[in-house]
Amino acid sequence: MEASKVIHAIYTDDDVLMSAVKKVKAEKHHIEEIYTPFPVHGLDKAMGLAPTRIAITAFMYGCVGLTVAIVMMNFIMIEDWPQDIGGKPSFSYIENMPAFVPIMFELTVFFAAHLMVITFYLRSRMWPFKKAENPDPRTTDDHFLMEIAIHDNEQSLTSLLKETGAVEINIVDKEEDAH
Protein backbone atom coordinates (compact mmCIF):
# COMPACT_ATOMS: atom_id res chain seq x y z
CA MET A 1 0.00 0.00 0.00
CA GLU A 2 1.14 3.46 -0.78
CA ALA A 3 2.62 5.41 2.10
CA SER A 4 0.31 8.24 3.19
CA LYS A 5 1.50 11.71 4.01
CA VAL A 6 0.82 13.25 7.36
CA ILE A 7 1.59 16.62 8.83
CA HIS A 8 3.17 16.97 12.26
CA ALA A 9 2.57 20.24 14.04
CA ILE A 10 4.57 20.77 17.21
CA TYR A 11 3.49 22.99 20.09
CA THR A 12 5.23 23.91 23.31
CA ASP A 13 2.28 24.85 25.50
CA ASP A 14 -0.83 22.90 26.40
CA ASP A 15 -3.09 25.97 26.35
CA VAL A 16 -1.90 26.88 22.85
CA LEU A 17 -2.44 23.25 21.85
CA MET A 18 -5.99 23.29 23.19
CA SER A 19 -6.97 26.38 21.25
CA ALA A 20 -5.22 24.99 18.16
CA VAL A 21 -7.26 21.80 18.44
CA LYS A 22 -10.46 23.82 18.67
CA LYS A 23 -9.50 25.86 15.57
CA VAL A 24 -8.52 22.79 13.54
CA LYS A 25 -11.76 21.06 14.51
CA ALA A 26 -13.70 24.17 13.55
CA GLU A 27 -12.13 23.94 10.08
CA LYS A 28 -13.44 20.37 9.89
CA HIS A 29 -10.06 18.65 9.67
CA HIS A 30 -9.69 15.23 11.16
CA ILE A 31 -6.98 15.00 13.82
CA GLU A 32 -5.37 11.57 13.66
CA GLU A 33 -3.57 11.67 16.95
CA ILE A 34 -2.02 13.99 19.51
CA TYR A 35 1.09 13.07 21.52
CA THR A 36 1.57 14.88 24.82
CA PRO A 37 4.10 14.49 27.63
CA PHE A 38 1.31 14.60 30.24
CA PRO A 39 -2.49 14.22 30.24
CA VAL A 40 -4.10 17.44 29.03
CA HIS A 41 -7.46 18.01 30.67
CA GLY A 42 -10.35 18.34 28.25
CA LEU A 43 -8.29 17.38 25.20
CA ASP A 44 -10.44 14.35 24.50
CA LYS A 45 -13.58 16.48 24.47
CA ALA A 46 -11.97 19.09 22.24
CA MET A 47 -10.83 16.39 19.80
CA GLY A 48 -14.33 14.96 19.73
CA LEU A 49 -13.31 11.52 20.98
CA ALA A 50 -16.02 9.25 22.31
CA PRO A 51 -16.25 9.34 26.14
CA THR A 52 -14.09 6.75 27.84
CA ARG A 53 -15.73 3.60 29.12
CA ILE A 54 -12.91 2.74 31.49
CA ALA A 55 -15.00 3.83 34.50
CA ILE A 56 -17.54 1.12 33.69
CA THR A 57 -14.82 -1.52 33.54
CA ALA A 58 -13.42 -0.20 36.83
CA PHE A 59 -16.81 -0.69 38.47
CA MET A 60 -17.05 -4.24 37.14
CA TYR A 61 -13.51 -5.05 38.28
CA GLY A 62 -14.36 -3.66 41.70
CA CYS A 63 -17.36 -5.98 41.90
CA VAL A 64 -15.14 -8.92 40.92
CA GLY A 65 -12.65 -7.97 43.62
CA LEU A 66 -15.38 -7.74 46.24
CA THR A 67 -16.70 -11.16 45.23
CA VAL A 68 -13.23 -12.70 45.29
CA ALA A 69 -12.65 -11.28 48.78
CA ILE A 70 -15.94 -12.66 50.10
CA VAL A 71 -15.46 -16.12 48.58
CA MET A 72 -11.81 -16.24 49.61
CA MET A 73 -12.39 -15.23 53.23
CA ASN A 74 -15.34 -17.54 53.47
CA PHE A 75 -13.18 -20.44 52.33
CA ILE A 76 -10.11 -19.58 54.42
CA MET A 77 -11.69 -18.47 57.66
CA ILE A 78 -15.04 -20.26 57.81
CA GLU A 79 -14.94 -23.47 55.77
CA ASP A 80 -11.36 -24.63 55.57
CA TRP A 81 -9.89 -23.80 58.96
CA PRO A 82 -12.27 -22.14 61.42
CA GLN A 83 -10.51 -20.61 64.40
CA ASP A 84 -11.71 -18.97 67.56
CA ILE A 85 -10.14 -15.53 67.52
CA GLY A 86 -10.82 -13.27 70.49
CA GLY A 87 -13.85 -15.25 71.59
CA LYS A 88 -15.42 -14.98 68.15
CA PRO A 89 -15.60 -18.50 66.76
CA SER A 90 -15.70 -18.60 62.98
CA PHE A 91 -18.95 -20.44 62.42
CA SER A 92 -20.68 -17.95 60.22
CA TYR A 93 -19.44 -15.53 57.61
CA ILE A 94 -22.06 -12.92 58.32
CA GLU A 95 -21.37 -12.86 62.07
CA ASN A 96 -17.65 -12.38 61.48
CA MET A 97 -18.16 -10.00 58.59
CA PRO A 98 -16.81 -6.84 60.30
CA ALA A 99 -13.41 -8.51 60.55
CA PHE A 100 -13.40 -9.15 56.81
CA VAL A 101 -14.50 -5.69 55.72
CA PRO A 102 -10.94 -4.31 55.43
CA ILE A 103 -10.03 -7.24 53.18
CA MET A 104 -13.18 -6.78 51.13
CA PHE A 105 -12.35 -3.12 50.73
CA GLU A 106 -8.70 -3.65 49.85
CA LEU A 107 -9.35 -6.33 47.26
CA THR A 108 -12.07 -4.20 45.67
CA VAL A 109 -9.57 -1.38 45.27
CA PHE A 110 -6.77 -3.73 44.22
CA PHE A 111 -8.79 -5.38 41.47
CA ALA A 112 -10.30 -2.14 40.23
CA ALA A 113 -6.94 -0.34 40.09
CA HIS A 114 -4.75 -3.05 38.60
CA LEU A 115 -7.20 -4.44 36.09
CA MET A 116 -8.10 -0.91 35.03
CA VAL A 117 -4.44 -0.15 34.30
CA ILE A 118 -4.02 -3.40 32.39
CA THR A 119 -7.19 -2.67 30.43
CA PHE A 120 -5.92 0.77 29.64
CA TYR A 121 -2.61 -0.61 28.30
CA LEU A 122 -4.32 -3.24 26.19
CA ARG A 123 -6.83 -0.78 24.81
CA SER A 124 -3.99 1.62 23.98
CA ARG A 125 -2.14 -1.26 22.29
CA MET A 126 0.82 -1.08 24.60
CA TRP A 127 2.76 -4.09 25.77
CA PRO A 128 6.33 -4.84 26.84
CA PHE A 129 9.05 -4.53 24.16
CA LYS A 130 6.73 -2.78 21.79
CA LYS A 131 8.32 -0.22 19.50
CA ALA A 132 7.29 3.26 20.60
CA GLU A 133 4.64 4.84 18.38
CA ASN A 134 5.31 8.45 19.11
CA PRO A 135 7.02 10.01 16.12
CA ASP A 136 9.14 12.50 17.99
CA PRO A 137 10.96 11.79 21.27
CA ARG A 138 10.46 15.40 22.36
CA THR A 139 6.80 14.55 23.06
CA THR A 140 8.05 12.63 26.10
CA ASP A 141 9.68 15.80 27.41
CA ASP A 142 8.07 19.18 26.83
CA HIS A 143 6.60 19.23 23.32
CA PHE A 144 3.12 18.47 22.03
CA LEU A 145 2.59 16.95 18.62
CA MET A 146 -0.56 17.01 16.53
CA GLU A 147 -0.83 14.61 13.59
CA ILE A 148 -3.19 15.34 10.70
CA ALA A 149 -3.50 13.33 7.50
CA ILE A 150 -2.95 15.22 4.24
CA HIS A 151 -5.46 14.87 1.39
CA ASP A 152 -4.10 17.27 -1.26
CA ASN A 153 -4.42 20.20 1.11
CA GLU A 154 -0.84 20.63 2.24
CA GLN A 155 -0.76 24.38 1.68
CA SER A 156 -3.95 25.31 3.46
CA LEU A 157 -3.20 22.99 6.37
CA THR A 158 0.28 24.34 6.84
CA SER A 159 -0.87 27.92 6.93
CA LEU A 160 -3.73 27.07 9.27
CA LEU A 161 -1.39 25.30 11.68
CA LYS A 162 1.10 28.16 11.53
CA GLU A 163 -1.70 30.51 12.55
CA THR A 164 -2.58 28.38 15.55
CA GLY A 165 0.88 28.85 17.02
CA ALA A 166 2.75 25.71 15.99
CA VAL A 167 6.49 26.17 16.47
CA GLU A 168 7.44 23.56 13.89
CA ILE A 169 5.61 21.88 11.04
CA ASN A 170 6.88 18.75 9.34
CA ILE A 171 5.46 16.77 6.46
CA VAL A 172 6.16 13.09 6.98
CA ASP A 173 5.64 9.96 4.93
CA LYS A 174 3.92 7.63 7.24
CA GLU A 175 4.47 3.93 6.75
CA GLU A 176 1.38 1.84 7.13
CA ASP A 177 1.72 -0.51 10.04
CA ALA A 178 -0.58 -2.68 12.02
CA HIS A 179 -1.80 0.44 13.78
Binding site: H41, G86, K88, P98, V101
Partner: protein, 452 residues
Amino acid sequence: MEYKISNRLKIGAIVLIILGLFGVGYGFVDSHSYTEENITKRLAEEHDAHGDGHAEEAHGASHDEAAPHVEDNHSGEAHSEQAEGHEMSHEEHVLHQIHNRPYSALYVAAFFFFMIALGVLAFYAIQYAAQAGWSPVLFRVMEGITSYVLPGGLIVLAIAFVADKHLFIWMDPDVVAHDALIQGKSGWLNKTGFMIRGLIFLGGWSLYRCFSRKFSIAQDSADDNRNFKKNFRISAAFLVFYIYTESMMSWDWIMSVDPHWFSTLFGWYVFASMFVSGITVIAMVTIYLKSKGLLEFVNDSHIHDLAKFMFGISIFWTYLWFSQFMLIWYSNIPEEVTYFVTRIEDYKLPFFGMVAMNFIFPLLLLMNSDYKRINWFVIMAGIVILCGHYVDIFNMIMPATVGDRWFIGIPEIGSILLFGGIFLFIVFTALGKAPLLAKRNPFMKESEHFHY
Protein backbone atom coordinates in the same frame (compact mmCIF):
# COMPACT_ATOMS: atom_id res chain seq x y z
CA MET B 1 -26.39 40.23 41.84
CA GLU B 2 -28.24 41.18 44.98
CA TYR B 3 -30.44 38.65 46.64
CA LYS B 4 -33.29 39.49 48.97
CA ILE B 5 -35.04 36.85 50.97
CA SER B 6 -38.39 36.41 49.26
CA ASN B 7 -41.59 36.89 51.20
CA ARG B 8 -42.65 33.36 50.42
CA LEU B 9 -39.49 31.95 51.93
CA LYS B 10 -39.79 34.22 54.94
CA ILE B 11 -43.40 33.23 55.58
CA GLY B 12 -42.49 29.59 54.95
CA ALA B 13 -39.73 29.76 57.55
CA ILE B 14 -42.03 31.43 60.08
CA VAL B 15 -44.71 28.81 59.48
CA LEU B 16 -42.11 26.10 60.07
CA ILE B 17 -41.07 27.77 63.31
CA ILE B 18 -44.67 28.04 64.55
CA LEU B 19 -45.52 24.46 63.56
CA GLY B 20 -42.30 23.37 65.21
CA LEU B 21 -43.16 25.24 68.40
CA PHE B 22 -46.51 23.45 68.52
CA GLY B 23 -44.78 20.12 68.03
CA VAL B 24 -42.21 20.83 70.72
CA GLY B 25 -44.90 22.14 73.08
CA TYR B 26 -46.98 19.04 72.50
CA GLY B 27 -43.94 16.91 73.23
CA PHE B 28 -43.39 18.54 76.61
CA VAL B 29 -47.06 18.51 77.61
CA ASP B 30 -47.47 14.91 76.52
CA SER B 31 -44.36 13.65 78.28
CA HIS B 32 -45.23 15.50 81.48
CA SER B 33 -48.67 13.96 81.56
CA TYR B 34 -46.75 10.96 82.81
CA THR B 35 -46.12 11.51 86.51
CA GLU B 36 -44.93 9.42 89.38
CA GLU B 37 -48.56 8.87 90.40
CA ASN B 38 -49.84 7.51 87.12
CA ILE B 39 -46.75 5.97 85.57
CA THR B 40 -47.41 2.44 86.81
CA LYS B 41 -51.00 2.48 85.60
CA ARG B 42 -50.14 3.98 82.22
CA LEU B 43 -47.32 1.57 81.59
CA ALA B 44 -49.61 -1.31 82.44
CA GLU B 45 -52.21 0.05 80.01
CA GLU B 46 -49.55 0.38 77.35
CA HIS B 47 -48.42 -3.17 77.87
CA ASP B 48 -52.01 -4.34 77.99
CA ALA B 49 -52.76 -2.91 74.60
CA HIS B 50 -49.52 -4.29 73.34
CA GLY B 51 -49.70 -7.58 75.18
CA ASP B 52 -53.28 -8.31 74.15
CA GLY B 53 -52.65 -9.07 70.53
CA HIS B 54 -49.49 -10.80 71.46
CA ALA B 55 -51.09 -13.04 74.02
CA GLU B 56 -53.90 -13.95 71.65
CA GLU B 57 -51.51 -14.96 68.97
CA ALA B 58 -49.36 -17.00 71.28
CA HIS B 59 -51.82 -18.57 73.69
CA GLY B 60 -55.37 -17.30 73.71
CA ALA B 61 -56.28 -19.03 76.98
CA SER B 62 -54.15 -16.85 79.21
CA HIS B 63 -55.88 -13.74 77.94
CA ASP B 64 -57.46 -12.69 81.19
CA GLU B 65 -54.15 -13.02 82.95
CA ALA B 66 -52.70 -10.17 80.94
CA ALA B 67 -51.57 -8.07 83.89
CA PRO B 68 -49.43 -10.64 85.74
CA HIS B 69 -48.14 -11.82 82.41
CA VAL B 70 -46.77 -8.35 81.76
CA GLU B 71 -45.05 -8.26 85.14
CA ASP B 72 -43.40 -11.55 84.32
CA ASN B 73 -42.07 -10.20 81.09
CA HIS B 74 -40.46 -7.43 83.00
CA SER B 75 -38.50 -9.35 85.52
CA GLY B 76 -37.32 -11.49 82.64
CA GLU B 77 -35.61 -8.61 80.89
CA ALA B 78 -32.23 -7.81 82.32
CA HIS B 79 -32.44 -4.10 82.91
CA SER B 80 -29.21 -2.27 82.80
CA GLU B 81 -30.01 0.11 85.64
CA GLN B 82 -30.50 -2.84 87.97
CA ALA B 83 -27.31 -4.41 86.79
CA GLU B 84 -25.45 -1.19 87.47
CA GLY B 85 -26.84 -1.00 90.99
CA HIS B 86 -28.95 2.13 90.83
CA GLU B 87 -31.60 2.17 93.49
CA MET B 88 -34.35 2.96 91.03
CA SER B 89 -37.51 1.08 90.17
CA HIS B 90 -38.33 0.25 86.58
CA GLU B 91 -41.21 2.73 86.60
CA GLU B 92 -39.05 5.58 87.79
CA HIS B 93 -36.47 4.80 85.15
CA VAL B 94 -39.03 4.76 82.37
CA LEU B 95 -40.54 7.97 83.71
CA HIS B 96 -37.14 9.64 83.40
CA GLN B 97 -36.78 8.39 79.85
CA ILE B 98 -40.23 9.70 78.95
CA HIS B 99 -39.40 13.09 80.45
CA ASN B 100 -36.03 13.18 78.68
CA ARG B 101 -37.48 12.64 75.26
CA PRO B 102 -38.66 16.16 74.32
CA TYR B 103 -35.36 17.63 75.56
CA SER B 104 -33.39 15.12 73.55
CA ALA B 105 -35.51 15.69 70.47
CA LEU B 106 -34.90 19.42 70.78
CA TYR B 107 -31.19 18.94 71.34
CA VAL B 108 -30.67 16.55 68.42
CA ALA B 109 -32.36 18.87 65.95
CA ALA B 110 -30.63 21.98 67.34
CA PHE B 111 -27.24 20.32 67.12
CA PHE B 112 -27.94 19.00 63.65
CA PHE B 113 -28.61 22.44 62.17
CA PHE B 114 -25.79 24.01 64.14
CA MET B 115 -23.37 21.38 62.88
CA ILE B 116 -24.30 22.14 59.26
CA ALA B 117 -23.23 25.75 59.75
CA LEU B 118 -20.04 24.75 61.56
CA GLY B 119 -19.16 22.22 58.85
CA VAL B 120 -19.55 24.92 56.22
CA LEU B 121 -17.33 27.24 58.26
CA ALA B 122 -14.57 24.62 58.25
CA PHE B 123 -15.00 24.04 54.53
CA TYR B 124 -14.86 27.79 53.91
CA ALA B 125 -11.67 28.16 55.96
CA ILE B 126 -10.08 25.28 54.06
CA GLN B 127 -10.86 27.00 50.75
CA TYR B 128 -9.08 30.13 51.97
CA ALA B 129 -6.14 28.35 53.56
CA ALA B 130 -5.61 26.19 50.49
CA GLN B 131 -6.10 29.22 48.20
CA ALA B 132 -8.51 27.12 46.20
CA GLY B 133 -9.17 28.46 42.73
CA TRP B 134 -12.45 26.74 41.97
CA SER B 135 -14.59 27.82 44.91
CA PRO B 136 -14.54 31.63 45.35
CA VAL B 137 -17.81 31.96 43.40
CA LEU B 138 -19.43 30.04 46.25
CA PHE B 139 -17.94 32.10 49.09
CA ARG B 140 -21.00 34.27 49.63
CA VAL B 141 -23.23 31.21 49.81
CA MET B 142 -20.91 29.73 52.43
CA GLU B 143 -20.79 32.99 54.37
CA GLY B 144 -24.57 33.06 54.38
CA ILE B 145 -24.78 29.57 55.86
CA THR B 146 -22.11 30.21 58.49
CA SER B 147 -24.16 33.12 59.84
CA TYR B 148 -26.02 30.39 61.75
CA VAL B 149 -22.92 29.31 63.72
CA LEU B 150 -23.38 31.80 66.55
CA PRO B 151 -27.17 31.70 67.01
CA GLY B 152 -27.23 27.93 66.44
CA GLY B 153 -24.43 27.33 68.91
CA LEU B 154 -26.03 29.51 71.55
CA ILE B 155 -29.28 27.59 71.12
CA VAL B 156 -27.48 24.27 71.63
CA LEU B 157 -25.75 25.57 74.75
CA ALA B 158 -29.00 27.04 76.08
CA ILE B 159 -30.80 23.72 75.61
CA ALA B 160 -27.94 21.92 77.35
CA PHE B 161 -28.16 24.42 80.20
CA VAL B 162 -31.91 24.09 80.65
CA ALA B 163 -32.15 20.36 79.99
CA ASP B 164 -29.41 19.72 82.52
CA LYS B 165 -29.64 16.14 83.83
CA HIS B 166 -32.35 15.27 81.32
CA LEU B 167 -29.57 15.06 78.77
CA PHE B 168 -26.34 14.87 80.73
CA ILE B 169 -26.64 12.39 83.53
CA TRP B 170 -23.35 13.63 85.01
CA MET B 171 -25.04 16.95 85.78
CA ASP B 172 -27.15 15.10 88.38
CA PRO B 173 -25.29 15.24 91.73
CA ASP B 174 -27.20 12.17 93.01
CA VAL B 175 -25.88 10.07 90.15
CA VAL B 176 -22.34 11.35 90.54
CA ALA B 177 -22.40 10.59 94.26
CA HIS B 178 -22.90 6.89 93.47
CA ASP B 179 -20.66 6.67 90.46
CA ALA B 180 -16.91 6.36 90.93
CA LEU B 181 -16.24 6.62 87.18
CA ILE B 182 -18.00 9.94 86.78
CA GLN B 183 -16.41 11.19 89.99
CA GLY B 184 -13.05 10.52 88.41
CA LYS B 185 -14.02 12.59 85.39
CA SER B 186 -15.66 15.41 87.29
CA GLY B 187 -12.61 17.64 86.79
CA TRP B 188 -13.74 17.92 83.19
CA LEU B 189 -17.38 16.93 83.38
CA ASN B 190 -18.96 19.64 85.49
CA LYS B 191 -21.58 22.09 84.44
CA THR B 192 -19.52 25.26 84.98
CA GLY B 193 -16.65 23.89 82.93
CA PHE B 194 -19.06 22.69 80.26
CA MET B 195 -20.56 26.14 79.86
CA ILE B 196 -17.23 27.98 79.94
CA ARG B 197 -15.72 25.65 77.36
CA GLY B 198 -18.82 25.93 75.22
CA LEU B 199 -18.58 29.70 75.23
CA ILE B 200 -14.85 29.60 74.39
CA PHE B 201 -15.47 27.26 71.43
CA LEU B 202 -18.34 29.36 70.16
CA GLY B 203 -16.45 32.59 70.79
CA GLY B 204 -13.47 31.42 68.75
CA TRP B 205 -15.56 30.14 65.87
CA SER B 206 -17.77 33.18 65.60
CA LEU B 207 -14.82 35.54 65.99
CA TYR B 208 -13.21 33.91 62.95
CA ARG B 209 -16.50 33.99 61.12
CA CYS B 210 -17.01 37.66 61.92
CA PHE B 211 -13.54 38.78 60.81
CA SER B 212 -13.43 36.57 57.77
CA ARG B 213 -16.75 37.96 56.61
CA LYS B 214 -15.55 41.48 57.28
CA PHE B 215 -12.37 41.01 55.23
CA SER B 216 -14.30 39.26 52.50
CA ILE B 217 -16.68 42.23 52.16
CA ALA B 218 -13.83 44.74 52.43
CA GLN B 219 -11.99 42.92 49.63
CA ASP B 220 -14.92 43.69 47.28
CA SER B 221 -14.07 47.38 47.19
CA ALA B 222 -10.31 47.17 47.82
CA ASP B 223 -7.68 47.89 45.21
CA ASP B 224 -5.09 45.47 46.54
CA ASN B 225 -5.12 41.98 48.05
CA ARG B 226 -4.43 42.91 51.66
CA ASN B 227 -7.80 41.72 52.92
CA PHE B 228 -7.44 38.46 51.07
CA LYS B 229 -4.06 37.83 52.65
CA LYS B 230 -5.44 38.57 56.10
CA ASN B 231 -8.24 36.13 55.41
CA PHE B 232 -5.72 33.51 54.36
CA ARG B 233 -3.80 33.92 57.59
CA ILE B 234 -6.74 33.88 59.98
CA SER B 235 -8.22 30.90 58.12
CA ALA B 236 -5.08 28.87 58.66
CA ALA B 237 -5.05 29.84 62.33
CA PHE B 238 -8.75 29.09 62.67
CA LEU B 239 -8.31 25.59 61.26
CA VAL B 240 -5.80 24.76 63.98
CA PHE B 241 -8.13 26.13 66.64
CA TYR B 242 -11.09 24.40 65.05
CA ILE B 243 -9.71 20.90 64.89
CA TYR B 244 -8.92 20.93 68.61
CA THR B 245 -12.10 22.62 69.75
CA GLU B 246 -14.33 20.63 67.43
CA SER B 247 -12.99 17.45 68.96
CA MET B 248 -13.48 18.73 72.51
CA MET B 249 -16.93 20.01 71.60
CA SER B 250 -17.87 16.53 70.42
CA TRP B 251 -16.79 15.02 73.74
CA ASP B 252 -18.67 17.65 75.70
CA TRP B 253 -21.82 18.07 73.71
CA ILE B 254 -22.30 14.51 72.46
CA MET B 255 -20.02 11.85 73.86
CA SER B 256 -20.64 12.86 77.49
CA VAL B 257 -24.28 11.80 77.30
CA ASP B 258 -22.77 8.34 77.83
CA PRO B 259 -20.29 9.40 80.51
CA HIS B 260 -18.83 5.91 81.01
CA TRP B 261 -18.07 5.36 77.38
CA PHE B 262 -15.39 6.91 75.25
CA SER B 263 -13.96 6.61 71.77
CA THR B 264 -10.73 8.21 70.67
CA LEU B 265 -11.81 9.00 67.14
CA PHE B 266 -15.18 10.43 68.13
CA GLY B 267 -14.15 13.98 67.24
CA TRP B 268 -13.24 12.94 63.72
CA TYR B 269 -16.41 10.98 63.37
CA VAL B 270 -18.58 13.96 64.33
CA PHE B 271 -16.43 16.14 62.08
CA ALA B 272 -17.08 13.88 59.07
CA SER B 273 -20.79 14.10 59.78
CA MET B 274 -20.81 17.89 59.98
CA PHE B 275 -18.52 18.27 56.99
CA VAL B 276 -20.63 16.20 54.64
CA SER B 277 -23.88 17.81 55.86
CA GLY B 278 -22.35 21.25 55.41
CA ILE B 279 -21.14 20.58 51.87
CA THR B 280 -24.53 19.11 51.00
CA VAL B 281 -26.27 22.26 52.20
CA ILE B 282 -23.84 24.46 50.19
CA ALA B 283 -24.80 22.48 47.09
CA MET B 284 -28.52 22.73 47.88
CA VAL B 285 -28.49 26.46 48.57
CA THR B 286 -26.42 27.06 45.44
CA ILE B 287 -28.82 25.08 43.30
CA TYR B 288 -31.77 26.90 44.88
CA LEU B 289 -30.26 30.32 44.15
CA LYS B 290 -29.39 29.24 40.63
CA SER B 291 -32.97 28.19 40.06
CA LYS B 292 -33.96 31.77 40.98
CA GLY B 293 -31.77 32.99 38.12
CA LEU B 294 -29.01 34.18 40.46
CA LEU B 295 -25.40 32.97 40.60
CA GLU B 296 -25.18 32.76 36.81
CA PHE B 297 -21.40 32.59 37.19
CA VAL B 298 -21.72 29.21 38.94
CA ASN B 299 -21.53 26.50 36.31
CA ASP B 300 -22.02 22.74 36.13
CA SER B 301 -18.45 22.12 37.14
CA HIS B 302 -18.91 23.80 40.51
CA ILE B 303 -21.93 21.62 41.25
CA HIS B 304 -19.93 18.66 40.01
CA ASP B 305 -17.13 19.44 42.45
CA LEU B 306 -19.52 19.87 45.38
CA ALA B 307 -21.15 16.56 44.51
CA LYS B 308 -17.71 14.94 44.39
CA PHE B 309 -17.14 16.20 47.91
CA MET B 310 -20.54 14.87 49.01
CA PHE B 311 -19.59 11.51 47.57
CA GLY B 312 -16.07 11.49 48.95
CA ILE B 313 -16.89 12.70 52.46
CA SER B 314 -19.77 10.22 52.67
CA ILE B 315 -17.21 7.50 52.17
CA PHE B 316 -14.89 9.17 54.67
CA TRP B 317 -17.75 9.20 57.20
CA THR B 318 -18.34 5.49 56.61
CA TYR B 319 -14.66 4.79 57.04
CA LEU B 320 -14.68 6.46 60.46
CA TRP B 321 -18.01 4.95 61.47
CA PHE B 322 -16.70 1.53 60.61
CA SER B 323 -13.28 2.06 62.19
CA GLN B 324 -14.94 3.02 65.46
CA PHE B 325 -17.33 0.10 65.25
CA MET B 326 -14.87 -2.58 64.22
CA LEU B 327 -12.27 -1.90 66.88
CA ILE B 328 -14.86 -1.93 69.64
CA TRP B 329 -16.65 -4.95 68.19
CA TYR B 330 -13.43 -6.90 67.84
CA SER B 331 -11.95 -6.15 71.27
CA ASN B 332 -15.35 -6.74 72.88
CA ILE B 333 -14.51 -4.97 76.15
CA PRO B 334 -17.77 -4.78 78.13
CA GLU B 335 -17.70 -1.10 79.03
CA GLU B 336 -16.94 -0.15 75.44
CA VAL B 337 -19.07 -2.62 73.55
CA THR B 338 -22.21 -1.78 75.52
CA TYR B 339 -22.50 1.32 73.34
CA PHE B 340 -23.03 -0.76 70.22
CA VAL B 341 -25.01 -3.49 71.97
CA THR B 342 -27.62 -0.88 72.93
CA ARG B 343 -27.71 0.50 69.44
CA ILE B 344 -27.96 -2.83 67.68
CA GLU B 345 -30.56 -4.21 70.07
CA ASP B 346 -32.81 -1.19 70.52
CA TYR B 347 -31.97 0.94 67.49
CA LYS B 348 -31.53 -1.62 64.76
CA LEU B 349 -33.45 0.28 62.11
CA PRO B 350 -31.92 3.76 62.58
CA PHE B 351 -28.47 2.32 63.24
CA PHE B 352 -28.22 0.27 60.08
CA GLY B 353 -30.63 2.49 58.17
CA MET B 354 -28.22 5.38 58.54
CA VAL B 355 -25.42 3.33 56.99
CA ALA B 356 -27.65 2.70 53.99
CA MET B 357 -28.58 6.38 53.76
CA ASN B 358 -25.13 7.81 54.43
CA PHE B 359 -23.04 5.30 52.54
CA ILE B 360 -24.72 2.91 50.13
CA PHE B 361 -27.16 5.47 48.78
CA PRO B 362 -24.68 8.26 47.97
CA LEU B 363 -22.14 5.68 46.83
CA LEU B 364 -24.39 4.23 44.18
CA LEU B 365 -26.21 7.45 43.31
CA LEU B 366 -23.27 9.80 42.98
CA MET B 367 -20.72 7.35 41.59
CA ASN B 368 -21.49 8.18 37.99
CA SER B 369 -19.68 11.31 36.90
CA ASP B 370 -22.59 12.62 34.80
CA TYR B 371 -25.09 12.38 37.65
CA LYS B 372 -23.03 14.80 39.71
CA ARG B 373 -24.00 17.54 37.26
CA ILE B 374 -27.73 16.90 37.29
CA ASN B 375 -29.19 19.37 39.76
CA TRP B 376 -32.24 17.42 40.86
CA PHE B 377 -30.10 14.34 41.32
CA VAL B 378 -27.76 16.23 43.63
CA ILE B 379 -30.76 17.61 45.55
CA MET B 380 -32.32 14.15 45.98
CA ALA B 381 -29.04 12.62 47.10
CA GLY B 382 -28.56 15.62 49.40
CA ILE B 383 -31.94 15.15 51.09
CA VAL B 384 -31.13 11.51 51.82
CA ILE B 385 -27.67 12.44 53.13
CA LEU B 386 -29.13 15.10 55.41
CA CYS B 387 -31.79 12.73 56.75
CA GLY B 388 -29.10 10.14 57.26
CA HIS B 389 -26.95 12.49 59.27
CA TYR B 390 -29.90 13.62 61.35
CA VAL B 391 -30.38 9.95 62.21
CA ASP B 392 -26.66 9.74 62.94
CA ILE B 393 -26.97 12.46 65.61
CA PHE B 394 -30.19 10.82 66.80
CA ASN B 395 -28.27 7.58 67.32
CA MET B 396 -25.58 9.40 69.27
CA ILE B 397 -27.92 11.08 71.78
CA MET B 398 -31.12 9.08 72.12
CA PRO B 399 -29.86 5.70 73.38
CA ALA B 400 -28.34 7.46 76.39
CA THR B 401 -31.36 9.55 77.24
CA VAL B 402 -34.51 7.67 76.25
CA GLY B 403 -33.23 4.12 75.88
CA ASP B 404 -35.59 1.89 73.97
CA ARG B 405 -38.46 4.38 74.22
CA TRP B 406 -37.47 6.20 71.05
CA PHE B 407 -39.60 7.17 68.14
CA ILE B 408 -39.35 9.81 65.44
CA GLY B 409 -42.71 11.34 66.25
CA ILE B 410 -44.20 14.76 66.93
CA PRO B 411 -41.50 16.04 69.36
CA GLU B 412 -38.68 15.08 66.97
CA ILE B 413 -40.31 16.33 63.79
CA GLY B 414 -41.50 19.47 65.59
CA SER B 415 -37.92 20.19 66.67
CA ILE B 416 -36.64 19.67 63.12
CA LEU B 417 -39.27 22.10 61.79
CA LEU B 418 -38.49 24.64 64.51
CA PHE B 419 -34.75 24.74 63.95
CA GLY B 420 -35.07 24.20 60.21
CA GLY B 421 -37.23 27.32 60.12
CA ILE B 422 -34.79 29.36 62.20
CA PHE B 423 -31.91 28.10 60.06
CA LEU B 424 -33.59 29.03 56.78
CA PHE B 425 -34.62 32.42 58.10
CA ILE B 426 -31.17 33.38 59.39
CA VAL B 427 -29.23 31.94 56.45
CA PHE B 428 -31.32 33.49 53.72
CA THR B 429 -31.52 36.84 55.50
CA ALA B 430 -27.71 36.82 55.72
CA LEU B 431 -27.46 35.88 52.04
CA GLY B 432 -29.33 39.06 51.19
CA LYS B 433 -26.91 41.29 53.08
CA ALA B 434 -24.03 41.23 50.58
CA PRO B 435 -23.60 40.85 46.83
CA LEU B 436 -23.56 37.19 45.80
CA LEU B 437 -20.24 37.59 44.00
CA ALA B 438 -17.08 38.26 46.01
CA LYS B 439 -15.91 40.18 43.00
CA ARG B 440 -12.43 41.34 44.02
CA ASN B 441 -11.20 37.95 45.23
CA PRO B 442 -7.88 37.34 43.45
CA PHE B 443 -9.01 33.87 42.36
CA MET B 444 -12.37 35.01 41.06
CA LYS B 445 -11.42 34.85 37.39
CA GLU B 446 -10.08 31.34 37.76
CA SER B 447 -13.18 30.33 39.64
CA GLU B 448 -15.56 31.80 37.06
CA HIS B 449 -13.77 29.94 34.30
CA PHE B 450 -13.50 26.79 36.31
CA HIS B 451 -14.14 23.95 34.01
CA TYR B 452 -13.73 20.30 34.58
